[in-house]
């Protein structure tokens, strides 16, 4: 039980950490918030833009997590689902490693449609997938504790878990990205934009593989 509690805590920290990680990544949109604030020539445009980016990201997380929350009710297949999900995340990472081209369709989104852009960027980069193994881990621990619950209640629990994971992750992302955007917008200036922008493509792809690998391992190991 203690072990489970601590691993549950660790998984929730992973949710927060992945949020901070996504938030720091310029590819998830914080430079757009700086741009919005400057283009509209008013400070309030910055938080509005951050909120739009957060909303798009949240929807992208839910679009990935909610379908998994439905299949988690198939307790009998739990291990297979978790292994499959882990493999899927690994595959996405490998794909991004091999295909280093940037998704062109993102460039066709109008610059003011930040929520749509954020949603598509998250989907294209597998941001939601990165959460799946963590989320399934949380659900598995929940299922162990409440093994006697009816499938419907379990599903309800898992949907609540999906919402909580997506919210916590997005909140962390927005705090991290918002902090950088705000510091650049108010204090450092745009000169730092090109200095703070690192190419995270490879790191990102490796993160997916790492998280996917964790998913597969923890499914085998029981948690």
């Amino acid at each position: 039980m203690t072990l489970e509690l601590s691993s549950l805590t660790a998984l929730w920290w992973a949710v927060i950490f992945s949020g901070l990680y996504h938030g720091i990544n310029p590819g998830m949109g914080w430079p757009l918030a700086v741009s919005a604030g400057l283009m509209e020539r008013k400070h309030s445009a910055l938080p509005v833009a951050l909120a739009m980016l957060a909303f798009g990201h949240l929807i992208a997380m839910l679009a990935i997590l909610l379908p998994f929350s439905l299949v988690t009710t198939l307790l009998y297949w739990e291990e297979e689902i978790r292994i499959g999900a882990g493999m899927l995340v690994i595959a996405m990472g490998v794909y991004l490693l091999i295909n280093r081209r940037h998704p062109k369709f993102l460039a066709r989104v109008h610059p003011s449609r930040l929520a749509l852009w954020s949603f598509l960027a998250a989907m294209a980069h597998g941001a939601g997938l990165m959460l799946v193994p963590i989320y399934l881990g949380i659900c598995a621990i929940g299922a162990d504790d409440t093994g006697h619950l009816a499938a419907r209640e379990l599903m309800g629990n898992n949907i609540m878990n999906a919402l909580a994971v997506a919210f916590a992750h997005t909140l962390a992302m927005t705090v991290a990205g918002g902090l950088i955007a705000t510091i650049i917008y108010f204090w450092l200036g745009l000169k730092f934009l090109s200095k703070t922008w690192f190419n995270l493509d490879v790191v990102w792809a490796l993160s997916l593989i790492l998280v996917g690998g964790f998913g597969v391992y923890s499914a085998y190991a029981g948690h």
Binding site: G27, H102, K104, K191, W197, D201
Partner: protein
Amino acid sequence: MNMRPDPTFHPTAQLAMKAPVENYGFTVMLSPDGSQPDGIAVVDLNPKSDTYGEIVHQVLATEKGDEFHHFGWNACSSSLSPLTGHAFLERRYLIVPGIRSSRVYVIDVKEPLKAKIHKVIEPEEIFEKTGYSRPHTIHCGPEGIYVSTLGGGGKDGTDGPPGIFIMDCETFEVIGRYEMDRGPQDKHYDFWWNLPQDYMVSSEWGLPPQFEGGLVPDDLLSNKYGHSIHFWDLRKRKNIQTIDLGENHQMALEIRPAHDPAKSHGFCGVVVDTTNLQGAIFTWWRDDDGTWQAKKTITIDPVPADPDDLPDMLKGFGAVPPLVTDIDLSLDDRFLYVACWGLGEMHQYDVSDPMNPVLAGKVEIGGIVAKHKHPNGKDFAYGPQMVEISRDGKRVYWTNSLYSTWDDQFYPNDEGGQMVMARVGENGGLELDKDFYIDFPKGYRSHQIRLEGGDCSTDSFCYPNV
């Protein structure tokens, strides 16, 4: 792939102005009769160098008769836009089209002294994938490299309208046509845009039969060259408004939007007004209700001349038209440079108030009748033509050839290629540098100039000035 953005990518025009100055320039070498391959001359622009103001390297085309004209970079500061996701491209390749052959060369200039051809895109690939011909202006944009063309399909390029096609910014593969709804646009020349505001503006010269063999006087006098500018929803690829500048305003060429993307205005140069031979600049802008407007804000008068001093084409008029063939806007959106190729003058206008430009400086060099000499005492063939401004706005470079067959019509006795430079005063004013004068190798004329690290007619910015 880089870990950090290319050091020549600048979020804003202001920051680009403060960046290190250019060390090299790249200038088109044109063999007007196609007897030698065209090329790109690498010019040393570092005043501390022993070879300052000299051509230090040449990249020659693989074929002859391409007719190099305009060219551009594979990437500019707009790559920093998070929307495009291309922040780690390098501003490294020059995309150089041949407007006569429709062949496109990709030249790697990472090491300017060892610049070399990286890839050649054969005309057939462009014909097949786009139905366009005679590629011209290059800009790096959201979906890749955008290339405007002057001709449609068929041998003489009149089978269908010309337009813009897109190339992949990493592989240089031709992807296909840009336009989804071109509206009334049926001719093409230049284009540029404002990326955050998501609009594009394009202009019109004429169709290939109207320029390839030389200017067609009957077409000009019956106002058959282009005289409209088109406004596009950039990402929807749709023509949203066409403004006819008036059919007498023949050849609406260069489009120069303000570099600060928070502004919604720009300029367009008109070669000649057929009612009075004036050259003109139009200011275009977007109204509060979203409609586009254009108004003539600069006119330059022709200068009376003895018909004996004039080429056949102009004898009947008894005057030299200014012939506004190129314009360029400094990165601070303050000075607009206007090449008067016929008169032999380079004008500098203060356009701080874009609706009321004020002449701030002027240089006289070359000219159909005036034939002003360079301050070093040497001749300058033709007149001031393609102009490029240093990022910091302190140096203005230009060359002298317009287009092979047109040079011969307006300047039948001139030959040669030159590149010169003028210095800009603290508050305007323009003065030729006596020591900067590049004579091109025999048999070559000179055309567009690009500056190492970006320049005022290629760099687009995604962040407004602060």
